[in-house]
């Protein structure tokens, strides 16, 4: 197999280099951070594999008086084909499908939940990607690690978590650019697992760079993300929505101080508008 100097070093250092795939999948090779397609390359040339060889510089030092040294070498094999590696994108499309098999809908439903759940290692067993690429994909899906299992949140549940946070901010009259994460976690963690709270909180806020007098980090709403999220909340149940009515509803749904803007919906390819 032809590899890169990088991959060779990783193998030499004992890092995980693994071929992954289902019997029907094309094989890929994964390091800790990257994925490569494995292809068979052919050449019309003959490649003779020599287990031991005396290189030119070595041969000179072996020179005897008559200037000729004969060493016998055995050819291990003659090849016309070898395996080649091509850097490729990880195959993570399956991940969303797997996550959707068992969406997280709330603490109260978990006791009866017997559907399949995946740990990170379980996922590596079924997804053709490197650990780092899998982590990135999970983050993009907004999945959370709950009790060691990676779960995607049911959309309505996500909305209810969001509402809890927004209502808490309102009822405490915190400024939209001065939200203390710690207080949110402490207050709501009986209702919602702390891990989920924290993940959701970070999806819709940005650090401000300041802290409370006690030293807790302060955050502000990430306007674009919130508007996109709420836009999706409104559009999901309805197939079509009159543009004017939508814009009005949308603006009145977002927290105070935030302005909606159709460009925010374009980011996730959330909405298409037609002229009627």
């Amino acid at each position: 197999m032809e590899v890169t100097p990088d991959i060779l070093n990783q193998i030499l250092e004992g890092e995980r280099v693994i071929i992954r795939g289902d019997k029907s999948d094309p094989a890929v090779l994964c390091t800790d951070t990257q994925t490569y397609d494995i292809k068979e390359a052919g050449t019309s040339n003959s490649l003779l594999l020599l287990p031991s060889v005396v290189w030119p510089d070595e041969a000179e030092t072996n020179d005897k008086d008559d200037g000729i040294t004969i060493a016998s070498q055995e050819v291990a094999g003659i090849f016309h084909n070898y395996l080649e590696l091509h850097l490729c994108r990880p195959r993570v499309q399956k991940l969303r499908y797997l996550m959707e098999e068992n969406l997280y809908t709330g603490k109260e439903y978990e006791a009866d939940n017997v559907d399949v759940k995946y740990t990170f290692e379980d996922l590596l067993n079924v997804i053709q990607a490197s650990p780092k690429e899998l982590q990135t994909a999970l983050r993009e899906l907004q999945a959370c690690c709950i009790d060691g299992f990676w779960r995607m949140l049911d959309f309505d549940y996500q909305f209810s978590v969001f509402n809890h946070i927004v209502n808490l901010v309102d009822s405490n009259s915190w400024p939209s650019d001065g939200i203390p994460l710690q207080a949110v976690l402490d207050t709501l963690e009986d209702l919602i697992p702390r891990k989920i709270l924290e993940e959701c909180f970070h999806w819709y806020t940005e650090p401000v760079g300041r802290t409370t007098p006690e030293g807790y980090d302060l955050y502000r709403w990430n306007e674009d993300k919130i508007c996109a999220f709420l836009g999706e909340v409104i559009l999901r149940p309805t197939g079509k929505f009159n543009l004017e009515e939508f814009l009005y509803t949308w603006q009145s749904t977002v927290p105070e101080g935030i302005t909606t803007n159709l460009n925010q919906l374009k980011v996730g390819n959330l909405a298409l508008s037609s002229t009627d």
């Binding site: 590899v3 004992g14 693994i18 071929i19 992954r20 003959s46 003779l48 290189w55 070498q73």
Partner: protein
């Protein structure tokens, strides 16, 4: 789904690390005159000169030189951990735990069966047998060696 590990040999298998092998690359195919199996047959003579390398196969001569390969090759050997000594160790372990559980509650038995299967039981894996970093490349087409042609008078 399968996960096949590519790894270095364990210290029990190799005493001095993985050896460097070489590749001799030449144009075309090697054939035996009589069409017989080439196993164990003599191939040719490799000579090193000041300029590079010369390979004489049969009545052909090829000129080439030693170069570093663009990307290193690894020579892999397919192995199956279930047929290696690890298998024996697993069997011993499971036997011991079965004996142990006979004295205990029936609910313990299921745990011992799980011990047979290592969570990371890659039953097939590839071991790096050798690394190729250099090759002796013969780019020119083989030239037939013609014995002395008498000069025209």
């Amino acid at each position: 789904m399968v996960q096949i590990l590519i790894r270095m040999p364990t210290s029990e298998d190799s005493k001095s690390g993985v050896p460097d092998w070489a590749v001799v690359e030449l144009q075309g195919d090697l054939e035996s005159k009589s069409g017989q199996e080439m196993h164990g047959s003599f191939v040719g003579d490799l000579h090193y000169t000041k300029k590079g390398a010369i390979l004489i196969i049969g009545h052909h001569i090829l000129f080439g030189k030693t170069v570093d390969v663009d990307k290193p090759f690894i020579v892999l050997r397919k192995k199956n951990s279930l047929t290696e000594h690890h298998h024996e160790a697993n069997m011993l372990r499971s036997q011991k735990s079965l004996e142990h559980t006979q004295e205990e509650e029936a609910s313990e038995v299921s745990v011992s069966i799980e011990n047979l299967y290592d969570k990371h039981n890659y039953s097939t894996y590839y071991e790096v047998h050798a690394i190729v970093r250099k090759k002796i490349l013969f780019k020119t087409r083989p030239k037939p060696i013609v014995t002395n042609v008498p000069k025209k008078l």
